[in-house]
């Protein structure tokens, strides 16, 4: 079956979403056309507006339509602590579950030279400026526990130490409610090596 040209274009456009193939895109397109044209127009408006207006915060690099995002502009946050994360989703996760009151820096990725991502692509020059200009006492590294995440953490550690900022890394080990025999050996060896006295 062939679609009308515009319908085909809509289906192709929807496929840019992650995990959406030809079949799902067709389902979405038909749903919007048959059931929810108003919602679709609203979505199109918001998409248009968001893509035009949302950029990166000049301080933390998180998504923001303001030059400086609300979190960075908040005077009640503790500006002596800076938590470095890989993605905006990490900021949301930390904000929702942890009583952290400091500021953030969002890398939008991790060091991965084989993909062409080096220090400059992660905005680490902006971070270096922050180390110099702001009165940051502690930088908390919350990058992933992958090889790339570790490389990124190490790189930032050296930058921070060069500027006299103390560095900490989030702990990793046994998850809450976890049973030891079901945990992979890598995590378990970390948990054992980094045990703490009680």
């Amino acid at each position: 079956m062939s679609y009308s040209p515009l319908l085909q274009q809509l289906i192709d456009a929807l496929r840019c979403l992650p995990g959406v193939g030809a079949k799902s895109a067709q389902r979405m397109a038909f749903y919007l056309l048959e059931r929810d044209r108003k919602g679709a127009v609203h979505m199109a408006d918001k998409l248009q507006e968001a893509m035009q207006r949302i950029g990166h915060c000049a301080i933390c690099r998180n998504f923001s339509e303001e030059k400086i995002c609300a979190l960075c502009a908040n005077k009640k946050r503790d500006s002596s602590q800076l938590c470095v994360v890989e993605t905006p989703a990490d900021v949301v996760a930390l904000e929702q579950s942890v009583g952290y009151r400091g500021l953030y820096f969002v890398l939008m990725g991790h060091l991965s030279p084989l993909d062409g991502i080096g220090p400059a692509e992660l905005g680490l020059n902006i971070l270096a400026e922050r180390f110099k200009q702001e009165d940051i006492k502690e930088v908390i590294l919350a990058t992933g526990t992958t090889v790339e995440g570790e490389a990124t953490a190490h790189y930032i550690t050296e930058m921070a130490r060069g500027n006299g900022v103390s560095v900490s890394r989030i702990a990793y080990g046994v998850p809450l409610g976890g049973e030891l025999d079901l945990i992979d050996s890598g995590t378990l060896s970390h948990a054992m090596n980094e045990r703490k006295s009680v």
């Binding site: 992650p18 995990g19 060091l111 030279p113 084989l114 993909d115 062409g116 991502i117 080096g118 220090p119 400059a120 680490l124 020059n125 270096a128 992958t146 090889v147 570790e150 490389a151 190490h154 790189y155 050296e158 930058m159 060069g162 992979d184 050996s185 890598g186 995590t187």
Partner: protein, 230 residues
């Protein structure tokens, strides 16, 4: 083709579809191959923590096309836990492999050298230079661009190293680069990395030769070493 329990290292991985990885893997007998690890990015997948660069692995895979499917993974002989500069060194080796190797060409000696280099990096508190230089020499040799060290070399003579022709004796002032001391070339020929004074010169020579074969496109991982000044 079906291959069981092949010693291997992940060289690179990138996300594929929603839950899979696309892997570039260096294997002992099949060289650099591309594999898809289906479902390996799902939460709780047992392969998740194994499928990282620098882990020694035993992998099984099957398939008919250039892109084959990973069917099982087991931890191999060695466990490396890289920290600091050693991760950069590992990334550097992986970038060189991806840039210079062709897929599906077996390089057993290179595999062994890579494995030894990783273990040396992991264990030694020493300089990272000797394992990297040994690896570079072996890689160049395996891809057919080996450094030419079979000339009659004199330890006390200075040579200009021509990438095509090899070392050429220099007498008198010259602006040709790179200039290498005979004793440095001799040490490389004998695989002797005991004299730390020669490390800078060795690095300089190998970088010059590698750059030639990398067609002028710089290695991204070098930025990790040089960029520390920011």
């Amino acid at each position: 083709m079906r291959v069981e329990l092949q010693p291997a290292y992940i060289i690179h991985r990138r996300p594929y579809r929603n839950t899979s990885w696309l892997l570039e893997v260096l294997t002992r007998e099949y060289g650099l191959i591309a594999l898809v690890a289906k479902g390996a990015r799902r939460p709780g997948n047992a392969w998740r923590f194994l499928l990282e660069p620098f882990n020694s692995l035993l992998i099984s895979f099957s398939g008919r096309n250039e892109l084959m499917t990973l069917t099982s993974v087991e931890p191999g002989e060695y466990r490396t836990q890289f920290v600091g500069d050693k991760i950069y060194a590992g990334m550097y080796m992986n970038e060189l492999l991806l840039r210079l190797l062709h897929r599906n060409d077996p390089h057993e000696e290179l595999f062994s050298t890579y494995m030894i280099a990783l273990n040396e990096l992991d264990s030694a508190a020493d300089s990272i230079e000797p394992p990297l230089r040994r690896f570079e020499l072996c890689l160049l040799r395996e891809v057919g661009y080996g450094i030419q060290l079979d000339h009659a070399l004199d330890a006390n003579v200075t040579y200009f190293y021509d990438v095509e022709k090899g070392p050429i004796e220099v007498s008198g002032p010259t602006n040709q680069q790179p200039l290498i001391h005979g004793r440095c070339l001799l040490a490389l020929a004998q695989n002797d990395f005991s004299n730390a004074e020669l490390f800078v010169e060795m690095k300089y020579l190998l970088r010059h030769v590698l750059n030639h074969y990398l067609s002028g496109k710089p290695l991204k991982s070098r930025e990790l070493f040089t960029g520390k000044k920011i």
